[in-house]
């Protein structure tokens, strides 16, 4: 995970300049990581379904900055950005995408199924909305163990129509489990616009379960940070779940296989004009925290980091065929 340049000045929103630099670095890192993945997919190094996070970086970076080490994260298949923002080793992520032995799961999981329990990163889930009930269970365990942790659950707008969305929100609110439901509304579930997928507003629905539900600007990392902080406080103080709808946009197709017949180029261009990285950069420029040269240096650094990531992944060997049957079940010690 990228570390931040140190600039010892306090700035707005309780954030230090350090943190802003870190946000910028992380977002840029995720952006490049995803672009690199796209390239590696084209070159056949990555296979299967590949869903890129480009455009949505502010969501993961802004929100995860508010979490503690004890917190548990579950997300969907568009999960590279979340893993990176959580501090999972990008080398091991890329190695996983390459299907190699140094991958997070030694190449067993692939892009849609990333796990790093050492970081409380409990997975990317490829069945839409299936991880929402899991988050409720993580929250139940937190309440039972009184370990002050919360479950942070990321999903897309398209997932809201699934039955498990309803079951999970109801259970979480009913049992007051500490879960932040973080919906990244990028306006589409594959090719279906949210207006054709839901009869109502996402936050209207979420609020109906008796939990706070806010709509925020998911292209503004600072807004995401501020609003998620409130959610974290709410959960930590035992008040139960909290719902955030972050308005965002994905620049690439749904997956690498997407012919993008359902939206116009213009719409994508419009969104790019609100780009989260450009926005933070301008903001930091206004604050005098960064200039063109230092931004270029940062870009350069990220590019170099990316080369290392790819080199690491590529150097890692394929898993042995003799491992095929490992970990189907966990051997259980007789108690």
């Amino acid at each position: 995970m990228p570390t931040s340049q140190t600039v010892a000045r306090p700035v707005e929103d309780g954030l230090t300049a350090d943190q802003l630099h870190s946000f910028l670095h992380q977002m840029l890192f995720i952006r490049r990581f995803e672009e690199k993945c796209g390239e590696m997919y084209t070159r056949g190094k990555i296979r299967g379904f590949l869903h890129l996070y480009t455009g949505q970086e502010a969501c993961a970076v802004g929100s995860f900055a508010t979490l503690g080490e004890q917190d548990k994260i579950v997300t969907h298949y568009r999960d590279h950005g979340h893993a990176i923002a959580r501090g999972v080793d990008p080398n091991r992520i890329m190695a996983e995408l390459f299907g190699r032995v140094d991958g997070l799961s030694s190449g067993r999981g692939g892009s849609m199924h990333l796990y790093d329990t050492s970081k409380g990163f409990l997975g990317g889930y490829a069945i839409v909305a299936a991880h929402l009930p899991l988050a409720v269970g993580l929250g139940m365990a937190a309440n039972m163990k009184k370990d002050n942790s919360l479950a942070f659950c990321v999903f897309g707008d398209g997932s809201v129509a699934e039955g498990e969305f309803h079951e999970a929100l109801n259970l979480a609110a009913l049992w007051k489990t500490p879960v932040i439901f973080f919906c990244e509304n990028n306006l589409y579930g594959m090719g279906v616009p949210i207006s054709e997928s839901l009869s109502t507003e996402i936050t209207t629905l979420a609020a109906a379960y008796n939990m706070p539900a806010v709509k925020i600007d998911g292209m503004d990392v600072l807004d995401v940070y501020r609003e998620t902080q409130k959610a974290v406080e709410h959960c930590r103080s035992g008040q139960g779940p909290y719902f955030i709808e972050a308005m965002t946009y994905r620049y690439r197709g749904h997956s690498m296989a997407d012919p993008e017949l359902y939206r116009l180029k213009d719409e994508v261009e419009d969104a790019r004009r609100r780009d989260c990285i450009a926005r933070l950069r301008t903001h930091m420029q206004e604050l005098g925290l960064i200039d063109d040269d230092s931004f270029a240096a940062l870009q350069q650094r990220v590019d170099e980091e990316m080369d290392e990531v790819v080199a690491f992944a590529d150097a890692s060997p394929e898993p042995g065929l003799d491992t095929l049957f490992d970990h189907v079940v966990k051997e259980s010690v007789r108690a």
Partner: protein, 325 residues
Amino acid sequence: MPELRYRDALREALREELIRDDRVFLMGEDIGAYGGSYAVTRGLLDEFGRDRVIDTPIAESGIVGAGIGAAMAGMRPMVELMTINFSFLALDQIVNSAAKLHYMSNGQINVPLVIRMASGGGSQLGATHSHSLEGLYAHFPGLRVVCPSTPADAKGLLKRAFRDENTTIFIEHTALYGMRGEVPDDPDYLIEFGKANVLREGTDVTIVGYSGSTWQAVRAADMLEEQEGISAEVIDLRCLRPLDIDTVIASVKKTNRAVVVEDDWQFGGFAGEISAQLMEQAFDWLDAPVARVCGKDVPLPYNRNLEFAALPSEEDVVEAVLAML
């Protein structure tokens, strides 16, 4: 040894495990105030309180998913789904999360969860409420599939399930809840998974059953002995995954004939797996094709006579044995 009913043996196992390990908790539909639809959990809410015995809404996928999440976070939950018929609604959670997370995470995550449900037809509940799906669950790698046929097994296997690091689909037969039997009161009475039980030794034919169908097998063996002087060996599989096929093969190598009895529909059912494995591993010992005595290929009707005709009976087993001798 105390004599207990199957349902009481299950309750004893739950009680003991709740006492033994404070990570254990129970949740499910009507397990609390109602006492469980088959009275298995009766009294546990009063004894252990609402934090450890949780009545849930009717939301199968949600509660199984919550159980998985809690298990991932180090708890030892049991989720009761009332009956196996409702488990279709939780199947994605069971198959895609509970069964696969250990493998997909390369061993990082495991899901020590017990999912209990009642199975079986024969109570005139009609087609939606009379499924026997043990074999369906047995198909999925990553799961344990357990289906006790006696009070003692009910206790020993259920306790064993709570000590497992994986998800156990624990399937009880509705027709057995009232059955009595001796049950060890040792709080560490555990029965290993994947060990079939030879309930009765015999030399002429092997009859294989599990859960409720075990008793059709036993009754058929009695009838065969009394009426025909035929000596049948009866094997209760106990677990479908892991499956103890070795015990079955050893028996068939002795008897040279086998009948598999199963409540579930024959077509595409689990009996076919046993049959196929016997052919693969004991072909030269078989004097006749392995016979399957299973549910007929119809949704289970409500009418008593029709339902009876659709389910396997001991008479059907006897007939199958006689046909192969």
